[in-house]
């Protein structure tokens, strides 16, 4: 993987020192070290076993020769033993040994060599090594009989050669392991840092205010993609909330300006034109009404944000939706009558869900009130509650003029008001609160055409969070 130049920005740059400091590189180095230590132990063991086997083979050959000489002595005494030594060494006339890797010598009590191809002997009993010229000889010294010393030994050049071969192999393995560790560590480090840097770059972009930046996915569906996906989703959510907040602030600023301006104009007019106490008090009354409207708007906004924050979740309990809707029916029945509407309730018995009774009451009240207030006289408004066991659906259906399909989504936004209801009293927050309460209850809120009229369905899962 090629290095990127360190020019664009801090996060795009892959300086070698950064890679050496990277966690993955350190991990790779640690791994390489462990691998080397293990290889060392393994090779040490192999070396030991091989050398021991070779020494044992050598010694058993030596001991076989000693046995032959000893047999000669037992059969016919020292002269025969000397004869055997001479035979083993080949011709007695030769001063140089016939086989340079095989050494033998026999001496009498006076230390006089009777036969052999080694000049000087230490007369040590047992296994030992001794030097002769360039050779290192491993052998055994024994007393054939009192004072008669026999030594048989063999050159260890083969042992040394084997050790050197094994150590050479070890060297190459270690070298290879180090190279693999370094290259692998760098590769992983670079790869790791690429992804980290991509995330960091996105974070910096967002810090710099570029809210639409997202971490690029590589489509490998690996853990990085999963992490990046989760972060992107989080960013989407935060962006949506921020956008919402921005929207609300500007809406509030705008929607406050209108009633405040109106109020100010009225008060100014009252001061300029009013001549009697009754005119003044009428102006004050209107101003109080205007303030009440503003305050109602504020408390509605506050309530929406509280519901959206989910603070009420802790107060969830088993609520009889049947009772909630029956109460709403009884509460609004006279109101509907005053508006010349007919309000009908068709609620299945004993339907309960987990939720907040007060908020659910407010939610369905808002829906029923909307149906009452925004429809012409003689509208039929139905409250329907039914359950299929898993899903509970509460519907408020009217046969009024309804609203255009394009506005079904929009009416749930704060301050949005369909053109036909702009002149009516209200602050355009009722349905936004309904949407927030529905979301808190994990309910699906659907607006549709009742042909004619508007149908609002709230679908809740009856087993939700039970």
């Amino acid at each position: 993987m090629p290095f990127k130049p360190c020019a664009v920005s801090d996060t795009d740059c892959l300086r070698p020192t950064r890679i050496l400091k990277s966690d993955v590189f350190r991990f790779a180095a640690l791994f390489a070290f462990l691998f080397l230590a293990f290889t060392g132990i393994l090779l040490g063991t192999v070396l030991w076993i091989v050398q021991e086997t070779q020494r044992a083979a050598l010694m058993s050959a030596n001991d076989a020769d000693i046995a032959t000489v000893a047999n000669g002595f037992l059969d016919e005494g020292i002269p025969e033993a000397v004869e055997v030594v001479k035979q083993r060494l080949g011709s007695p006339a030769l001063s140089r040994p016939l086989r340079p890797d095989f050494y033998m010598a026999i001496e009498n009590e006076q230390g006089q060599q009777l036969a052999g191809n080694l000049p000087q002997l230490p007369r040590t009993i047992g296994i030992f090594t001794t030097r002769f010229g360039q050779s290192v000889i491993l052998g055994r010294g024994v007393e054939v009989t009192k004072g008669v010393y026999l030594f048989v030994g063999r050159d260890t050049a083969q042992l040394t050669a084997t050790r050197a071969r094994i150590l050479r192999a070890f060297f190459w393995v270690v070298l290879g392991a180090i190279v693999i560790a370094v290259v692998g560590g760098l590769f992983l480090g670079v790869r790791f840092m690429r992804r980290i840097d991509a995330i960091a770059a996105t974070c910096k972009g967002i810090i710099a205010g570029r809210w639409d930046e997202r971490i690029p996915l590589l489509g490998r569906e690996d853990e990085w993609d999963r992490l990046a996906g989760a972060i992107n989703e989080m960013l989407n959510r935060i962006s949506a909330l921020l956008e919402n907040l921005r929207q609300v602030s500007s809406d509030v600023a705008h929607d406050l300006r209108t009633p405040l301006t109106r109020m100010r104009n009225r008060l100014e007019e009252a001061r300029a034109k009013s001549t009697s106490i009754s005119e003044y008090s009428a102006a004050v009354d209107t101003a109080i009404d205007d303030t009440d409207q503003l305050l109602a708007m504020f408390s509605a906004l506050l309530r929406i944000s509280q519901v959206e924050a989910g603070a009420r979740l802790s107060s969830f309990s088993l609520v009889s939706l049947t009772d909630v809707l029956e109460n709403i029916y009884q509460m609004y029945q006279p109101v509907a009558e005053d508006y010349q509407h007919s309000l009908i309730s068709n609620c299945q018995k004993d339907i309960s869900i987990r939720g907040d009774a007060e908020l659910l009451t407010q939610m369905f009240s808002n829906l029923v009130e909307n149906a009452i207030r925004h429809t012409p006289e003689h509208t039929r408004i139905q409250i329907v509650l039914k359950s299929d066991g898993k899903l509970v659906t509460a519907s408020i259906i009217d046969d009024g003029p309804g609203i255009g399909s394009s506005e079904h989504e929009k009416v749930l936004r704060r301050f949005y008001r369909v053109s036909s209801s702009r002149s009516a009293a209200g602050h355009g927050l009722g349905l936004a609160l309904v949407a927030a309460i529905a979301q808190l209850h994990h309910a699906k809120l659907t607006l549709s055409n009742a042909n004619p009229g508007l149908r609002v369905d709230t679908t809740l899962r009856s087993d939700w969070q039970r």
Partner: protein, 222 residues
């Protein structure tokens, strides 16, 4: 009747003291929680009006401490109009909860209802010639039976418990329907109008008086 007002907004406190004075209440004003508790424990008040956020001991702690010694009615005044705040206030031992800003008439009506609250719950209520049997769920006026729907019965019951006193729309919504938000339709008016129809039908005198832009008052008709 003496009232204790624990409120750190001096301008609001001054105006409340004056307006209560106009209504023949003597109001003692204290602007922090610690003095407030001391005063509440020491004095003999008909009702205590306490702001939830006052310097020193806060309103909730104050009422909790007070409740260990006294059962003086307490009404919370607060800007904390949160959904859970009301529950906290009532759980701490408050008897009523009013969110700022409020109309003075609303506070006055609540104080009046609270200061004359009868602790025991009788099985029968009467207001002049109107009699209500809470067990049998029947209503009689001048001996004639009047049939009411359940919600109308509850509405009349609340008004009879507070006969001759003003009850605001908000008080009715809270106590009759357990509704703690402002409806956008005339729920209270519609129900009162129906109750009025049933209660007055055949009688010359309207037993329910409308107090303009505040609420209603049940008069005890003879």
């Amino acid at each position: 009747m003496k009232l204790l007002l624990i409120e750190d907004d001096t301008e609001l406190a001054k105006s409340l003291v004056e307006r209560f004075h106009e209504q023949d209440y003597v109001t003692e004003h204290v602007s922090n929680g610690d003095d407030g508790l001391a005063e509440a424990l020491r004095g003999d008040f008909g009702a205590i009006i306490v702001d939830r956020m006052v310097p020193g001991m806060d309103g909730l702690a104050l009422v909790k401490a007070l409740r260990r010694e006294k059962s003086t009615p307490v009404i919370f005044l607060t800007t904390m109009g949160g959904i859970d705040d009301r529950v906290q206030g009532l759980e701490a031992g408050g008897d009523d909860y009013l969110v700022k800003p409020f109309a003075f008439a609303e506070l006055l009506a609540r104080v009046r209802v609270m200061t004359r609250r009868i602790a025991h719950s009788p099985s029968k209520l009467s207001a002049g010639s109107i009699e209500m049997d809470l067990v049998q769920r029947t209503v009689m006026r001048e001996g004639r039976s009047i049939s009411l729907l359940p919600q109308e019965f509850r509405l009349l019951e609340y008004m009879m418990r507070n006969v001759n006193r003003v009850v605001t729309r908000k008080m009715l919504l809270e106590n009759v329907w357990d509704i703690h938000f402002d409806p956008h339709t005339s729920v209270v008016e519609s129900h009162v109008s129906r109750l009025r129809g049933r209660l007055n039908s055949g009688f010359g005198i309207d037993a329910i008086q409308t107090v303009r832009s505040i609420g209603y008052r049940l008069l005890a008709p003879n």
